[in-house]
Symmetry: C2
Subunit: 379 residues, 2 copies
Amino acid sequence: MLDQHGSAHPRTLSGTATRGETVPTVPPATPAARRTAVDVTALLERGRTLATPVLRAAVDRLAPPMDTVAAYHFGWIDAQGNPTDGDGGKAVRPALAVLSAEVTGAAPEVGVPGAVAVELVHNFSLLHDDLMDGDEQRRHRDTVWKVHGPAQAILVGDALFALAGEILLELGTVEAARATHRMTVATRALIDGQAQDISYEHRDRVSVEECLEMEGNKTGALLACASSIGAVLGGADARTADALEKYGYHLGLAFQAVDDLLGIWGDPEATGKQTWSDLRQRKKSLPVVAALAAGGSASERLGEILAADAKSSEFDSFSEGEFAARAALIEEAGGRDWTAEEARRQHTVALEALNAVDMPEQVRDRFTALADFVVVRKR
Amino acid sequence: MLDQHGSAHPRTLSGTATRGETVPTVPPATPAARRTAVDVTALLERGRTLATPVLRAAVDRLAPPMDTVAAYHFGWIDAQGNPTDGDGGKAVRPALAVLSAEVTGAAPEVGVPGAVAVELVHNFSLLHDDLMDGDEQRRHRDTVWKVHGPAQAILVGDALFALAGEILLELGTVEAARATHRMTVATRALIDGQAQDISYEHRDRVSVEECLEMEGNKTGALLACASSIGAVLGGADARTADALEKYGYHLGLAFQAVDDLLGIWGDPEATGKQTWSDLRQRKKSLPVVAALAAGGSASERLGEILAADAKSSEFDSFSEGEFAARAALIEEAGGRDWTAEEARRQHTVALEALNAVDMPEQVRDRFTALADFVVVRKR
């Protein structure tokens, strides 16, 4: 799953690929020379282990039937109410939140309420977004609105958002108030991003800049919050918190660029999504907007085809081959390479932001390793 | 509009009415002997005047098109985007919030961020509830989901809720953090109340206690927050804040009891709702559940009729006379008297809660006058 020595591993190299070739989805990690051995699996596990019991206790506060609906959403029970193992996702956010507490010399536990609050906000947004977008599946399961109806998706989303503030503010500290303020601002950005995403669906053309702004809001803002909230709870000053937010914001953009690559060229077995998933959903993701902005014959042909698709009544019955042809055009126009390169650029900016923060070297190494993990993941 | 001397005014007396008689909707106010002259209109106007510019500035922070959708919801513009006068509602909450700041000796302005936050939370809940309930009209206008679609109703609701925390927490004070924590807890109660309201729709019977619990959550919790938030921002201790919350909670229950009376017997011209509005929506409001719980022949007949209505395919084409007959049965079973009496009981408990708080007499008189206003209103 992990590849901490990306530059020495052929599957993580895409810079040398030429158009039309089967380029790997993942961009290279930072040079191995800069790395010390960090066990990312253990780091992710630590965040999960610390945050999950507190998250479960928080969700248990919800009145029935919202507690059950939330437990279904988190994958703790199935639609019939029976306990399930649940894959629980990658858990990058909790890992970042507890790690960021260590920036201030505090114990990772200090970041736990922050990790839980960020998970609550993230899942509030998933519940509402799935309903707004009409998405019927998430993490290989029917979405909440599909199983429990739209009203429960709205209500439980609202309740999780409220719970996030409650969990933080009941700490009763000045640091918790600061953390909640930053989280609230991040949540507004998240909502702005979803609003932009929806508005872009109705437009023929979206610029690369608009796409990056939307992805910065939808993904960057909450990863920024996750990367700094433990530090804020640990008493970090505003400058430190801002720098950690910058790390998380650009890490979020790198994360999203990889997601956009996986959304078109990802292995369905690894991602749990259909082949050409984002193309089937007509998503104006980074590879698409970059390809359309590139100019040249492939770019122009792609533009004509997508414009025709938007009006086509047969789109829903398109064959694998038709999507493969569109993907090939995106690649030929340079959209795939550009996006892989963009993931690397954002990854670099994220790591540079860490330089502005004084922290134990071991903590810095872990931030670096998590950033590498985000860009080399295959799901 | 106001009647501060209810006991001397026949329209505010219902205690002497016998069943079947046309009892007035409004219960009596506290005895005139306890009153000093308070200009409630001026008090409501003060809250509105102080809060509205700050509320508008807060809403202006929203990214397009959410700013426009929110402005439509607040009644500041019409569906075409043209400025309107907008009736803006009764504005009881802002009046309470700025008044509560004066409990601590602070200026009413200290309560303004609290007033704005409470208004934002209230309107977040209206946006989401209207969508969940499928309500097409509010304040004589099409609801947001009807005009701008369900996604905008969800998004703008979310954004207003986030904005509420943002507005308070950017004050950066310990008091603001406490106020936000209390507001968040109130918001969770609000959500619980809506969840209960939805679940009751699918049940044949709801007890009076369940109905009161639901109304305490849906209406009491946020009025409790409005009645204390200014004091919390002004530095009140927890005991004072709790007592003011108790005043607001029971005032909310009195408010809701009056609302439930108006929902059946209110004057459509004053309320802006259809005749027999709550009956048409099959609401299990207080007069209905009290009538069903009362026992006796009218109560039993009402139970049989409502059970048949629940299965009737012709319900939507019922005549005025059919609803009038149901309303008469509710009244005959005692549901109307019980609810009017309940409004008086809650009004009394609310005023008693004020006794636990040390405050300038002028401020106490104003709280009393606002409580009287809430129970004598006709819309």
